[in-house]
Symmetry: C2
Subunit: 245 residues, 2 copies
């Protein structure tokens, strides 16, 4: 038996998210189908985590068990050949039989992309959240500083209580302008439901001048979702990478 680790890239536009749901086109279902066509046997994929409907991935990670004997690059090509154009497999590797893409994930990195160009970029409408207000990036960066480190992020999660704890550690949070786009990059040891989108919605409110910088600390301390910013739309969000030991 082999344990195979996949790195997966997908355009979330036409998927109902990662997880298999009867009657809907999902990334998991599409991938499992392509793998079954390749190996002749159905395998269940274990992902680092779900992504929502419309959310993209550059480096999602999942693993599955198989008895297929193809070498990794041939295996990768064979699965890739059976995949639609909105999913690709940049990498495939043999890993220890004990590896679990979900439980072993040490850190994840997400990027939230905003287009605040005066005219809007028609080619980015599925790949960035549009802001009709020009955003103040240095102010957003400065406002985001209190979020760094270990905190209870309950004010930035949807659907509480659904976890043992809302405490997470953000190890990296940057806000950069890249041409007419703004990238909010967040890395943490784990994420709550809608956490990055709630952080993005909050920082957008600061960047457009609707809220003062200090508001972010207040929201964090309130531990109350209703005081935070709106959940920014899914199509601006990318799962960039998952780090393992």
């Amino acid at each position: 038996m082999r344990n195979i680790k996949l790195t997966i890239s997908y355009d979330g536009t036409d998927f109902w998210g990662w997880q298999t749901q009867p009657g809907y086109r999902t990334v998991q279902e599409t991938l499992e189908h392509a793998i079954a066509e390749t190996t002749g046997k159905r395998s269940v994929l274990r992902a680092s985590g779900r992504t929502d409907r419309g959310t993209h991935a550059v480096g999602q990670v999942a693993n599955f068990y198989t008895t297929c004997k193809l070498d990794c690059e041939t295996f990768r090509k064979a699965i890739d050949f059976r995949l639609p154009e909105d999913i690709s497999l940049p990498d495939i590797q043999d890993v220890a039989i004990s590896f679990d893409a979900n439980k072993d994930a040490k850190r994840k990195r997400y990027r939230y992309v905003i287009d605040d160009s005066p005219q809007g970029n028609p080619f980015m409408r599925r790949y960035a959240c549009r802001s009709r207000f020009r955003l103040d990036v240095p102010k957003m960066l400065s406002a985001s500083r209190p979020l760094l480190g270990r905190h209870d992020f309950h004010s930035f999660e949807t659907g509480w209580p659904n976890r043992l704890s809302s405490i997470r550690t953000i190890t990296h949070l940057s806000v950069n302008r890249v041409g007419d786009l703004i990238w909010i990059d967040v890395e943490a040891d784990g994420f709550l439901y809608n956490m990055v989108r709630a952080i993005a919605g909050t920082l957008i409110n600061v960047g457009r001048g609707f809220w003062p910088e200090e508001k972010v600390s207040e929201i964090l301390l309130a531990e109350d979702r209703t005081v935070g910013g709106p959940t920014a739309p899914a199509h601006g969000l990318y799962l960039m990478r998952v780090t393992y030991d």
Copy 2:
């Protein structure tokens, strides 16, 4: 009466091309509707030329007459506000009453984009033609040299005879690799129907090693569409800019 020149950018994915066709969503119809909502009066747009279904534009140009008195930037914003996200107006200008976006166009520049990455880029599937073969860019560039200058491009046009002449002058033709993408840039004093897509299809056949470089000269001299390469798909094509005196 004012004559207004618009520069228009659109993602062609969800349009049935530029030109108004009853029952279909086209760029012309969508723009004319937004202009009518702004000015209160229907104006007919005159474009530099049509683009096909699925073809994109970064710098399409069109003009229309109006009695609307808004200054250009206010006018631009007012129309833009009524446009869907897949069209934008980077620029709007007052021009001489005699200006005609179609007849006065001196040169047009198109870009054809190909993704020949080993895995394919899911985010480019609507914006680049996918090649499963890695392409030899220096060979494509070298093969394209005979196309420069004034020639009968009948071997690179669809639906002949529909013009007075198939003679055109290509003033610029470059082939560049930009990361995992290939850009074929073509500028000419005018283009025949499907001309850039036929040139791209021909150069792709050379780049993948299916045809020798010399084949391009033979095709050009044959003045016969059936000997040229296939018409590459519309979603890799961009109208980049139109030059006027």
